[in-house]
Symmetry: C2
Subunit: 522 residues, 2 copies
């Protein structure tokens, strides 16, 4: 699946009279790109440490260290000499397909990144560090007003970033594009306008039906047992722990410093079995993608994930399509009982399956069910859109948030911690990230469908505890390509069609129709 | 103790007609230096992670990331523009004493560092990373031959470094100078020729006396209890855990990413109470020094420790002069019994004090007593000296090691793990480091004596569990100065005399004479 000596193989077919020059130009491009990656991955190590282990007083020095690394990565990448090298290599007939694609992607990135200045990159990085610390403090105090001033500085910078990067219709488009190439407010408005009413219809149906029991998911689940269980699940999923590790953080995330050093984090709520479990599986899905990227392409576009929505398709496929399926839990049942013998001894896998899929509007996105999840995303999408076009100010975020949670989910938000302070994303400057969760779920439904078509006995294999065919299929059809294809090209190549929300909606109708025994008229 | 706005205060006295130019030149110098520090501290984060948490397969990418950071720090520091700035600022009457000293120290560093090329720095960094991994593997397999090939590459590079840096008498001098400015083979040969026979004499006396009992230090000391105890001791010592943390590693070390983010590590042997305990106190002494450096001088010489021997004086003062004293353990007795109620209930502080000071030749340097410790150093010193002048080859290290352990300590070394693989230093490329442990012990004895003279009731305070006067004295007389003074200048300023091994020897005679009830004729 990996391509160990691809580069040299492809160079071997370059016509002899060109070979020396191109080898040297491509190798110089590669070395420069890998050094840029060294700075970026080093920054990722410092960020990982900041979110897992760093003592609080380390924050000022860390902020400037991260700023220097970000600025240097930016300066090295936007060095005109590298830009010239990329342009010289673009479309050159002497390059093999892998090399040519790397160069094309680098040119896209270069054109985008050179619109930012080193000073802007430094300022943004410093503000993100301050912002993360403020978010941590605000969460601890359960008070948005602690976060608001620095968040406002960040929003101003993100608007500036949008202006620098450029857009046609809406400033938010420039940021959306960073996470999902080509995605725009117009496209997402259209997508959500189809998705939301259909989800609402399913949700209404479900709410008319008798509620399923999930009381066994609440109680006292000791942290140590949860931790051990989470690791056991990740191992069963196929995560290579010689090339990964798990730690704890305020908000779960996955990062990596190469495809051989992937870090996942989780958090534990001892009163709730679900909080850690599905966050582990979700981050595990991300981590398996990173471990499946070609090691030989370190620092080059083809060594990176296709896009954030495809990344989310992997995490959400493992978390939901697999991780909330009956066969998966049938296969894991002995592992579950081994770690929690008392908790689940009276529960059957069938009851468990229903319980973990209980549909119920709730306050926390990461712990919500597969249906109401997307309402959480819509709230964030609508909010970010307005922040970016200035029709909403930072200080009004809690009011907007609470109003829209009432509108979409019918809930009163009791405090900021369970409201607009719940996600780490804004403190990272990640505006435009949230919609990729919904896109990821839609792609995941399509990929899941295709994997079942490709592997006829897949369900039986999973029930038997063998997830390796599925992982192998994901590696062969998605992971190994890195950024070779765009999301939509990849989706078409793998599934035969573009993004199609109906696949997800059909999956949801089938799944929740079964769990809630609904009549098939919706 | 800290000097919060020292820089601006000193600028205020610069004559008005010079002030703008000098302020801007000094501020540019400072910003450039701080960016160099950002790269170095970032590399330190990556190294800390490498030794504490990094999964094994992360090593290749980590090696190149560290190499890129080291090379960049070197390139930025040896940038001729920075060199010119430093030269322009040197000896300028407009600078205050702090600024002037920073500039002088930077010039010394600049002249030394520009003798290395960026390519050499990169190669050295890559070899160190490989070497650390090989050392880990060799330790796990208890087989020096796994470490030997890459260690040999490193020795060749260190000889090249010595040649590039230059020396008068002996290549080892160039490396010794890095850890302790001005120290040479000639000086150390002379020092050890005085120290070793005197120590030998004390040791011979001790070995004629009846041995003290330390059986209560061996048994089963559960890792979790040791860990909690170690943290409790570090807290009592005054380590600020909002600006520090402790983790585990193969070999204990202290590193820092600013004076507000200090990391100590330890290792636990469940069969032995001493291994972790005094390593914690030792690293805690280093960490207190780092926390006491002036925060405003981040990235500048005065924000760094005076020298490695002064650093070791701090760790060894806490570990030995305080940490193996009777009053210290009288004060810690309730904490000890709280963590190990069963282990020490039959032991008195007096017996404990004797037991922890039992003199006995042993194989592991970090676990040896205060007397035989220096024989461990002499073996390493003699060995490194010969490695550097090529009279010893890397492959012959185990034979040399074992022969000299027999000669100095009368011991047969059973295997490499308890022999020449026990220390991490060589795998870090740290040749010339070991002698600073002995220098540190000698300085520690002098500092300890001076602190007692300065604080007449110090012993009573410590017995009462109050170590803050001692810490305050160290902060005021040593820590706050950073690299303002050289080791010897600092020693004279604090104690009224230069390095004087007799102070340590008198301390040792007094202490072990008491413990072993020796007649006062040695």
């Amino acid at each position: 699946m990996r391509e160990p000596s691809q580069t040299s193989l492809i160079f071997a077919v370059i016509p002899a009279n060109h070979s020396i020059l191109f080898m040297s130009a491509y190798l110089e491009y590669k070395e420069r790109m890998q050094q840029v990656a060294d700075f970026r991955y080093s920054a990722a190590v410092l960020q990982w440490d900041q979110e897992t282990y760093m003592p609080v007083k380390g924050e000022d020095a860390r902020a400037r260290q991260l700023a220097t690394l970000s600025q240097t990565a930016h300066e090295r990448f936007t060095d005109p000499a590298l830009g010239q090298l990329i342009r010289d290599l673009t479309d050159h007939p002497g390059l093999g397909p892998t090399e040519a694609k790397n160069v094309i992607r680098s040119l896209e990135d270069y054109e985008k990144e050179k619109r930012l200045s080193p000073a802007f990159v430094r300022r943004l990085s410093e503000t993100v560090s301050k912002s993360f610390q403020a978010w941590m403090a605000a969460r601890a105090a359960n008070d948005f007003s602690i976060f608001a001033p620095v968040l406002d500085q960040l929003v101003v910078l993100k608007r500036e970033e949008a202006d620098r990067k450029g857009y046609i219709d809406h400033p938010y488009d420039a940021l959306l594009h960073d996470y999902e190439k080509g995605s725009t407010v117009r496209w997402l408005d259209d997508l959500f306008s189809k998705l939301v009413p259909s989800l609402q219809k399913i949700l209404d149906k479900v709410r008319e039906a008798p509620q399923v029991d999930n009381s066994f998911l609440h109680g006292y689940f000791p942290a140590q047992q949860q931790w051990a269980f989470g690791l056991a699940v990740l191992r069963k999923m196929g995560l290579d722990f010689d090339a990964a590790r798990q730690d704890k953080s305020e908000h779960p995330f996955t990062t990596n410093f190469s495809s051989k050093d992937v870090r996942v984090t989780t958090r534990i709520n001892e009163a709730d079995f679900t909080s850690m479990t599905w966050s582990c599986i979700h981050e595990g899905g991300h981590a398996l993608y990173e471990q499946g990227l070609p090691e030989t392409q370190y620092g080059l576009p083809l060594g990176e994930a296709c896009s954030l929505s495809i990344h989310e398709s992997q995490s959400r496929l493992w978390e939901n399509n697999l991780g909330r399926s009956l066969v998966f839990w049938e296969s894991l049942w002995p592992v579950l009982l081994e770690h929690f013998p008392a908790h689940f001894k009276e529960v059957t896998p069938q009851q468990f399956y229903k319980g973990i899929n209980r549909v119920e509007p709730s306050l926390i996105r990461t712990e919500s069910d597969e249906l109401t999840y997307h309402f959480h995303i819509v709230v964030r999408y609508e909010l970010e859109k307005r922040l970016m076009d200035k029709s909403l100010s930072t200080k009004d975020i809690p009011a907007f948030w609470n109003e829209h949670y009432k509108k979409y989910l019918g809930l009163d938000v009791p405090d900021d911690r369970r409201g607009c302070l719940q996600d780490v994303h804004w403190s990272h400057g990640s505006f435009g990230y949230f919609p990729t969760y919904t896109l990821g779920s839609l792609y995941a439904a399509q990929f899941s469908q295709s994997s079942k078509a490709a592997i006829p006995d897949l369900e039986a294999q999973i029930k038997a505890g063998n997830y390796q065919s599925l992982l192998g299929w994901l590696r062969a059809h998605i992971h190994q390509y890195g950024r070779f294809y765009d999301s939509e090209d990849l989706c078409r190549k793998v599934t035969g069609e573009s993004l199609n929300p109906d696949v997800f909606l059909d999956y949801a109708r089938g799944k929740f129709g079964g769990i809630y025994t609904l009549s098939p008229d919706f």
